[in-house]
Subunit: 163 residues, 2 copies
Amino acid sequence: MIHIRPATPADVPLMLAFIHELAEFEREPHSVKMTEEQLLEDGFGNDPQYDCLIAEWDGAPAGWALFFPIYSTWRGRGLHLEDLFIRPQFRGRGIGKALLRRVAAIAAEKGCTKLQWEVLDWNQPAIDFYHSIGGFMLNEWRIMRVTGDALAALAASETEGKV
Amino acid sequence: MIHIRPATPADVPLMLAFIHELAEFEREPHSVKMTEEQLLEDGFGNDPQYDCLIAEWDGAPAGWALFFPIYSTWRGRGLHLEDLFIRPQFRGRGIGKALLRRVAAIAAEKGCTKLQWEVLDWNQPAIDFYHSIGGFMLNEWRIMRVTGDALAALAASETEGKV
């Protein structure tokens, strides 16, 4: 039996375990720089950066969803689903769909016009699942990013009034 | 001469004009459902959903940037740049780059490890510009979304304990 509940500070070690398990699946186990301290501060401190839900199956931690608000200048408020992960031994029981439904219900309560997330283009089982629940892919759009030294260099070059 | 400043409530009509002008360029002029009232409430009300900067050239409104916080379970805080727009008659003067630098500086101040945005895959001038300032494209990732009736249906199907 599924039970979905909001995460509490006591869940932080479990949340970090889920983060590492998903990174393994995504073939980037060494990309995780998160710590329990940061996850605690960023989720349960004075200025929360995310919300999350824990899914249990007969009391055992089975998966989770982490999400935060986003904004569209065309449509207003939305939710971004950053992580949705079900441990392999708990898959095929509808837990991912139950988590997505709960996040969709939260989005609707908040007056959001969209729920959005990202998917690896080689993860066909996930893509099929997302289509089955009414999702669509934005085929023309690509994500661009600046990080690390390049972000620091761009920030340091900030010279108002001089172009 | 460029001047970049934070937007104020008095800028809302200008901001909505920029939103419509960018939607025209993106070939989706009818997709904009935003109103001045909503933009004012969402940006300057009790629970702000975004920040934005206005760029002026010799006192004339030339462009803008709108952004908000995002979160990565691998790296922590980030900023998402939702809109970056320069009016055609003001292009080629470094205003877009100046706005990006300022947003990057704000990201660095906030302890963000990434600044992220989306680009249309046919907008090669934008892609070239983003590469020139140290950006990179996430080639494997695609954006998925559920909206409107499909989001309402998914939310309504939320049935904890029954799967």
